[in-house]
Symmetry: C3
């Protein structure tokens, strides 16, 4: 358990804008996401609900936290983000409510929100206590769908302004930390991992622009290949591999007009190393 | 054809809330769902439209009715539910309008709405007659996309309050019944089937909590396996199989942190039997 | 480059209705579509956003233009359509803004909007110039996600009425033409291609009803098969193949209650010929 997160009471500055985002591992084939939206609309009829992704690999919260951290800044201030990747549903794990200066986050306390808190050091940590406002929650909470029975109504109450975080949650001093470590930086060598592979086969890593700050001429190694760092896909010929800092400030390995993951035979978790070409000449 | 459904004129109590749900077998790769939403917004600009699922197996209405019955209660009173799984599009099958105390349902008359009517005995049955309000429907209705040309405008008219059911439909005394039978209960032995398999590989059956009421110690048999009834996934060790009553009041067969459908090699339609362990010891 | 498109200044008649549609090749597994919606809502909080499709084959704009042309008429007048299929992102290709009497279209200038302009001869062509209203766009536009950084805010400004097309774009005399040719008509023989295959395996071609106008008794040839033209799927026995004019005015090859693409072993690009049975008897 992480301890000593500063509780700066930033929450009172939160002013809801009526937007709720959903991030789950439910897929879209079943009505589970739709039912969560129904549960939101029952409490907050004019909610504007945006699907972030419902294709997080089942039972692996890391990818949800990765994307949530990077996507949140493009939403209006006052957005409530809900994430449900929850292998421990029905057990004693609690539901976290994280408040930053501009957004609220609700998710099971299983490490999912670790990256959000790491990226926003002054975040306020709370734990959902539906029994403080029982009239807003189902009399009988199911053992297997807290997304519908707890997180959806909580998000609707917060996003509509019907409740503040203090009304339905209590301060917490700790949380389960992120499962995914930050990149290591030793002797000007950066070592990270592929966190996710997108629809185009681009390999997206946990290395950010700032990790490369002290490197004069970055050289990227992945799966035994040595790749140049370029600005965009069009900077190399079709079919060639490259690395770039993508639109979410993440080092990405791509094949121009092709599928890097298939071409290089790599998966989530693959190691990525950045060295300084000037030093290794 | 089912006959003698009571027509209690419950419809007049219906007060639309502006929410429309969509359930189809269209998938999301084509623009068909988006075009239905456009057709709704043309008639009712502030409609709030929720996708329930668009992955019902093509040409098999049973799964749509199963989910619709179980999902509807989580939507606000006054919701209009539209379902389009319609192998008979363009033939003489008609479009049903079912009214309950709190919701309206529109779907082709092919058995899809059977489970909804079975679950709500006082439902009002009607048939869509667009020619009663021709100005609201396309002058030329296509032979292959009634979802866009008939159901979308009808739902928009009803959800916006521009028309009542009586304006665009006439009472009907019968309908095509549900294709899927209810579980049988003989000598304290319950026999049901797997209706659908969710994204996680959980096998979801048509057996409900109430079917188990007279059983002291339920023992579940499926595919030659004997499974215990537990409260939630976390109640068995990872990799173990269990049965539970899920969040939609359906008996479900699952593998903790695994995929039961793949592990057990079972499909939709698989037989499930519940016996009383006390009697069979 | 196409030249001489008439600029009839139809744009001033455009009155936004607040609806924005999205068509991309992003898929739904990643948060890219959700992030575009966030970027829209930051500028236009009450935007009503409809997904048309996000499954356009990666890096092939033709299918996007095909569907956009056929889907747009079912949306309310005043809709803004955004399409992002953009293999050239980050290179010097510009962003087109096409205005018709009832809708605006934003997309990279790569041929995607060719079919829209071909179908609406009086369309007005413009090019996006975000630097005319820099306060509405990100200070630093990414090299790889113009959908989020340019098209989303532009669509939000236009759909909300905060800006007119003249505020953020300048007139253009040419554009990259459509990649897909119109069907050829020689000696009463029509030759077209399969443009897309839908979720049901129906093969959808670029041949329209009007192409068949002079044919007395249409006979369709595809993949060595000779097929009749019927009105709807139910007009042949289950398992039989047929051709029909579908609900989007496109000649479609289908198998009743089956999958024509799998059954006939055909792909996008397959040739389709229509002859007159009367002449070839």
């Amino acid at each position: 358990m992480r301890e000593g997160v500063r509780l700066e009471r930033q929450y009172p500055r939160f002013s809801p804008c009526g937007v709720i985002t959903l991030t789950t591992d439910f897929g879209l084939a079943d009505p589970f996401v739709g039912v969560m939206k129904g549960a939101i609309l029952r409490v907050f009829p004019s909610a504007r609900i945006v699907d972030l992704t419902h294709a997080v690999p089942a039972h692996w919260p890391s990818e949800a936290g990765f994307w949530l951290t990077r996507a949140a800044e493009y939403f209006p201030p006052g957005t409530v983000h809900v994430a449900v990747v929850d292998p421990g549903v029905g057990t004693s794990r609690e539901i976290l409510l994280v408040g930053t200066a501009t957004a609220l986050y609700l998710a099971p306390d299983n490490g999912l929100l670790g990256p959000v808190v790491d990226a926003q050091p002054g975040s306020q940590l709370m734990r959902l206590h539906p029994d403080r406002q029982p009239q807003h929650f189902p009399a009988r909470v199911s053992a297997t769908f807290h997304g519908r029975d707890l997180l959806a109504p909580a998000a609707a109450l917060l996003a509509s302004g019907q409740c503040t975080a203090d009304d339905i949650a209590v301060a917490s001093a700790d949380m389960v930390p992120a499962l995914l470590e930050e990149p290591s930086e030793i002797n000007n060598k950066i070592e990270g991992v592929v966190v996710t592979i997108d629809h185009f086969g681009n390999l997206i890593t946990n290395i950010r622009q700032r990790h490369l700050r002290s490197i004069v001429e970055p050289v990227i190694w992945i799966g035994g290949q040595r790749l140049p760092l370029r600005r965009t896909y069009g900077d190399v010929a079709p079919g060639c591999d490259l690395a770039l800092i993508n639109a979410f400030d993440a080092l990405e390995i791509a094949r121009a007009q092709g599928n890097a993951a298939v071409a290089l035979g790599l998966e989530r978790g693959a190691k990525v190393i950045v060295q300084d070409g000037v030093r290794h000449r």
